[in-house]
């Protein structure tokens, strides 16, 4: 595509830039419970405070609801996706499942991936809670643990596979005001949630505190993305045109490039509306992350 040629979707300019994403490990857990309400409580807790690998140890979100006839044990459930570094993810999965899913009434936790590049212990790490009364069972060639708890027992997969994934796909919604930015972001998230194999790990899927690498202080590794803060326009080298007064970012993690690309495409399309001036993306010049999602190429 000719760089000089503007790409617009419903009058919103798609900037000629790219999102830079990173290699991560990812997995899918299936959480079931006696009702969708309790599955959701478990899912929300397990994926809470999992916005960024830097501050939270992993990135996670709810991928989809699972109907009883599609779930492993005939009960309603949710599929949850978790992303992060191998060692961090191993610790985070055991801690989060142990503290938020095992504790949730009636819950059970299965792996939602049949295979990966390797496995990390889950039930195998939690089973000691059973104080020698836990039992293991092989079902379909895979081991599960039944841990006695006060409402009966907690069933959990012994190990879960991890697969190579992509973290940090993103785009920025540059809008005339907060209402337009929020509306665009909400539309984007709604559309992106239809895509399987991705989650948007921030609250409601949206980030308002995008960051840049480095700081004017010595100790933080990252600080506020000054170029996109409208309040700093006269003070810094701003990336915002005059008509933009609010910016929101959407970050997307997925199992592969295609899933992230697909989610970004439908998200951007849905975000473009009156008052959304531009769509941009965050990158570090292309030198840090191996995955580059050029915004305009999403629509070729």
């Amino acid at each position: 595509m000719d760089k000089k040629e503007d790409l617009r979707i419903k009058d919103t300019l798609i900037e000629d830039t790219f999102a830079e994403a990173f290699a991560m490990w990812g997995t899918r857990l299936i959480v079931t419970a006696p009702s969708l309400y309790w599955a959701r409580q478990a899912g929300l807790s397990a994926t809470g405070f999992a916005a960024s690998v830097i501050g939270c140890g992993c990135e996670a979100g709810i991928e989809a609801e699972i109907a009883p006839d599609e779930s492993p044990d005939g009960r309603p459930g949710l599929s949850l996706l978790f992303f992060g570094g191998w060692n961090d993810l191993e610790k985070q999965l055991a801690a989060r499942v142990g503290q938020t899913i095992m504790t949730c009434p009636g819950s059970a936790c299965y792996s939602g991936l049949s295979e990966g590049e390797g496995e990390v212990p889950l039930g195998g790490a939690l089973r000691y809670f059973g104080d020698t009364y836990q039992t293991s069972k092989l079902v379909g060639g895979k081991r599960y643990w039944r841990i006695p708890v006060m409402d009966g027992e907690f069933t959990v997969a012994d190990k879960v596979p991890l697969r190579r994934s992509v973290g940090g796909g993103n785009f920025l919604i540059l809008a005339a005001d907060e209402a337009c930015a929020l509306s665009g972001a909400e539309n984007a998230i709604r559309a992106m949630r239809e895509i399987r194999g991705v989650v948007m790990p921030f609250p409601g899927g949206v980030v308002r505190s995008g960051s840049k690498v480095g700081s004017r202080y010595k100790f933080p590794g990252a600080s506020t993305n000054t170029a996109y803060c409208p309040t700093l326009r006269p003070l810094v080298k701003s990336a915002l045109p005059e008509s933009v007064h609010c910016v929101l970012e959407i970050v997307v993690d997925g199992f592969d490039e295609e899933a992230v690309r697909g989610a970004m495409r439908v998200g951007i399309e849905a975000a473009c509306a009156e008052g959304v001036e531009r769509i941009s993306a965050g990158n570090y010049g292309g030198s840090l992350g191996p995955f580059h999602f050029h915004l305009r190429s999403l629509f070729v």
Partner: protein
Amino acid sequence: MGLLLKMIREPDIPIEAECLNPSAGKLKPSAAARLPVWQGRERAELGDFFSAARMNTEQEEELYIEGNLERVKRIGQNTARGKLVVRGSCGMHTGEGMSGGEIEIHGGVGNWSFCLMSGGVVKIFGGAGAFLAAALPGDARGMRGGAIFVRGGTGWRAAERMRRGLLVVEGMLGEFAGAEMIAGTIVSLGRAMGRLGASMKRGSIVIAGEHEPFLCGFEKSCVYSPAFMPFLWRDLEARGFAAKGARFARAGTKLARWCGDLTSLGKGEILVYER
């Protein structure tokens, strides 16, 4: 290419034919006919009792046998891979030491069958004699892995000292099933006879049908709906193992859990449908 063996002469004295496992399926008929068998202390050849012919099969190591094999012992012994299909009943020690592959028997099996089993899948469409998948005398452990489905009933002491694996019995589960069980799962879809799980330490016995009163070493602990049960049951249904007991596949089905045997370690369980 596999091999088809048809019985041409029923032995008057039982023969020991541990060569009758799927690995024989890749032999030429002439080579298969020369495989050694023992009849008492006399050495004989397979060709003395069976005719052999090539047949088209999916796997290389596939063996099909037809005839009344009740006097043929050790069929399928040490099967590690491939498939064995028997159209007829088998004698004692069938499938002993099986570690993988698949055995399908359209008939019954004699006593002491599938002892020392550690892997693979077995479907028996008739009944089974005593000591199915049990520990051999002097052995500390019975079945160590794999799955056995029996459409008919079993004799006594099935899965005695079972260490791991799955036994599903659609007919009558004989007395002392799961005695001294160490781990694993027994599923009874028909009628479970008395002294079930005597002295079991760990492991699960699931009763989807009728049962005799349990031993006094078992104590009812609670009534609950374990999520694990429909999960397990769906797997059994997918394998074609659970023609009965569909209610176990439904979430919320109430089960009574009996802990036992308290005369032993007591960490085993009998799960029974609670009406």
